[in-house]
């Protein structure tokens, strides 16, 4: 692309610019991420070739990083669709610049997370057995179906609100016209089209929320349907959902802060967005703590030997650093930083978000490994030291996410342009009208 030629982007130039102008930074990022991805791919191929022996798993710790990351990534995916659907549904006007990013995170992370059980398979070549001889009795198949449904729904939910923006790109006509033409489905912006689209989005909004909640509930069922101490608990469904939304918001905040900086979106992502979202984060943090507290309280009061073993293992045993690290990351840091206005800056929020993401990953680790490391029989404690392959695939997963996000930002606007425009044109009137309807007295 010729550099000297300045394109006219009009009013929302900051939103168009990243699509049409490609800097050195982009190529470097893509190359680095691609390299990481290829490295991870290579190590995965060695795993397929030699067997799962290349990982650090053993008996009794038969599930390790892959399942941890599976739960973690799926959790992050709740950022999106769920938040954007709730915000849309509640007609929160400040949602407009946020929803797109949230939805993108969902779609990409879900794809990555959904592949993790395959990484975990000892015989990936026999994957098709799932299709031909699956058993719907197994929670693993519930996962397969619910994740597929969620993935389908969230992709549609990402795509449909993007149609007007794609049409805008198509109409500019400078880049990949056929591509945008294909995707824009003949959008002309007529009243009928808007009506059709809005209606579809409204239905999807309502559908996506239960699907999303079901996904993480079902993932928690993988654990709670077994008899393992520390897993066999009814609280796990909501606990996982809360954790998922919690980590999802944190991930969304990180992405927002990063791309605000990189793409200079300060105009669009204002302090107020971060304030609102971080308040939500604080609430989720407290909620998370409440759930964790209940979980362990019932465990301790139940006084079942094996349950207590595992709690002791987490509180004071080998996993104490991870456990207390999790509490600090998920509860102490968010509460301290977000409770004080002084700390509640963009930097502060960034720190909190990162700590929450790490904390939630630790939480998954704390759920999966200690229960397995303490077998019920009088066997020695299991020791789990993840191998290079497992780390590589974890880092590779993150790299793929970043790559996916970067590539998305290259082709589509990260902030919904038409929704911003719509906001400018109609919302003020709308909101005023709506407000009046809430207020006591007769509407005028």
């Amino acid at each position: 692309m010729p550099k000297n030629k300045q394109l006219d982007f009009g009013q929302d130039a900051a939103l168009y610019r990243p699509i049409y102008e490609t800097g050195k930074g982009f190529y470097i990022t893509v190359c680095v991420l691609l390299a990481v991805y290829l490295w991870a791919l290579y190590l995965y191929i060695t795993q397929v070739y030699y067997g799962l022996g290349v990982t650090g798993m053993n008996q009794p710790i038969t599930w390790g990083f892959y399942i941890v990351n599976f739960v973690f990534f799926i959790g992050i995916s709740h950022a999106g669709t769920l938040i954007s659907a709730i915000l849309r549904l509640s007609k929160a006007e400040w949602r407009r610049p946020i929803t797109r990013m949230a939805e993108v995170i969902t779609a990409i992370v879900l794809a990555i997370g959904g592949l993790h059980p395959i990484l975990d398979l000892g015989r990936p070549d026999r994957m098709l057995n799932l299709l031909s001889d699956g058993r719907l009795q197994s929670p693993l198949l519930w996962d397969v179906t619910s994740i597929t449904a969620y993935f389908t729904a969230s992709t549609i939910y990402l795509y449909l609100p993007m149609i007007p923006d794609i049409a805008k790109l198509r109409d500019r006509g400078t880049k990949l016209k056929w591509f945008y033409n294909f995707l824009s489905w003949g959008w002309q912006g007529t009243a009928h089209q808007v009506k059709v689209l809005n209606r579809a989005i409204n239905i999807l909004m309502v559908m996506v929320i239960p699907i999303a909640i079901s996904v993480h509930t079902v993932i928690s069922y993988i654990f709670s349907m077994t008899l393992q101490p520390g897993w066999h608990s009814t609280i796990f469904g909501p606990y996982f959902v809360v954790g998922a939304i919690f980590s999802g918001i944190a991930a969304l905040l990180i992405v927002m802060i990063v791309f605000r900086k990189v793409y200079h979106l300060e105009e669009y992502l204002k302090e107020i967005h971060f304030q609102y979202l971080s308040t939500l984060l604080l609430i989720m943090s407290l909620l998370w703590f409440y759930f964790t507290f209940s979980e362990f309280l019932t465990g301790i009061f139940g006084s079942q030997t094996h349950e207590l073993h595992i709690i002791a293992y987490k509180f004071t045993g080998v996993y104490a650093p991870f456990f207390w690290g999790m509490v600090i990351c998920n509860f102490v840091i968010p509460v301290i930083i977000l409770s004080f206005k002084k700390f509640k800056t963009i930097t502060g929020i960034m720190i909190v978000s990162i700590s929450v993401v790490i904390g939630m990953w630790l939480e998954r680790l704390n759920i999966v490994v200690p229960s397995l490391a303490n077998p019920r029989m009088d066997l020695p404690l299991g020791i789990y030291i993840p191998s290079l392959v497992e780390w590589a695939l974890f880092i590779g997963g993150i790299a793929v996410f970043m790559l996916g996000f970067t590539m998305f930002a290259k082709f589509f606007p990260l902030i919904s342009i038409w929704e911003i425009e719509e906001g400018r044109k109609e919302s003020i009137k709308d909101v005023e009208k709506r407000l009046r309807s809430y207020l006591p007295g007769k509407e005028t």
Binding site: L52, G53, T62, G122, N129, I383
Partner: protein, 227 residues
């Protein structure tokens, strides 16, 4: 339908480990490399658990042979996504290696840690290949395996009985571990048959099952005076 069950008399059992060896040899269980074995990837279908009770010097040590318990209400079969582990009509919990996709969910679900996994392709020196048991298939990398109560022996016993047009008599079908136990501490038979030794022993006041509170209803019954 018979319901096969095992009774292990812990008072008689010395913990000599012969059941472990018999099992490994009968079922072609792979020997993993020393490094692997010491990080917890060793494969014993019949494992030995050591427990200590009491304070020095009045310590009681008990070694408990632990095969797969072939639960009547198995937690492992419920979670298998592909029907690779299942409970059959005779109460045997089978593991079909060629169906297994290696998700290890059943290992996670088993409260008794009875299953093992082929982390690498099992290998034998060529010379040892000739002493593999031809009745039992070799497992491949990435599948879960476990004690089968030597179900391959059952096939043969049934066939013999059918050839002679009779029922299987008590004690005719016994897994390798029970057959060669030096103290005859392992009994095997049909627990639904009130005449069988296993049934009689299971009614003993000494009998107990591991973790009965879980509701898994194991079909391996231990006899112990100490419990």
């Amino acid at each position: 339908m018979p319901k096969w069950a095992m009774v292990i008399d812990l008072d008689k059992c010395t913990g000599c480990g012969d059941c472990m060896a018999a099992c490994k040899l009968e079922n072609n269980i792979a020997i993993v490399s020393p490094e692997e074995a010491n990080v917890g990837r060793v494969m014993f279908w019949m494992d030995m658990i050591t427990t200590y009770e009491g304070e020095y010097p009045n310590i009681k040590v008990k070694r408990i042979p632990k095969p797969c318990f072939h639960c009547d209400n198995p937690p492992c079969t419920r979670v298998c996504p592909v029907y690779a582990t299942y409970k059959n009509d005779e109460g045997l919990v089978g593991q079909i290696y060629h169906r297994c996709i290696g998700c290890r969910y059943c290992m996670v679900a088993c409260p008794y840690t009875a299953k093992v996994f082929n982390w690498y392709e099992p290998k034998w020196p060529d010379e040892f290949k000739s002493c593999l048991n031809p009745d039992v298939s070799l497992r491949m990398v990435g599948v879960v395996e476990k004690c089968s109560f030597c179900a391959h022996r059952l096939i043969k016993v049934k066939e013999n009985a059918d050839m002679e047009e009779r029922e299987i008599y008590d004690g005719e079908y016994s897994p390798a571990c029970g057959e060669s136990c030096p103290t005859n501490a392992i009994y095997f038979g049909d627990i639904d048959n009130k005449e069988s030794q296993v049934y009689k022993l299971s009614q003993s006041s000494r009998s107990y099952r591991e973790m009965e509170n879980l509701g898994t209803e194991p079909k391996v019954i231990y006899l112990s005076k100490r419990e």
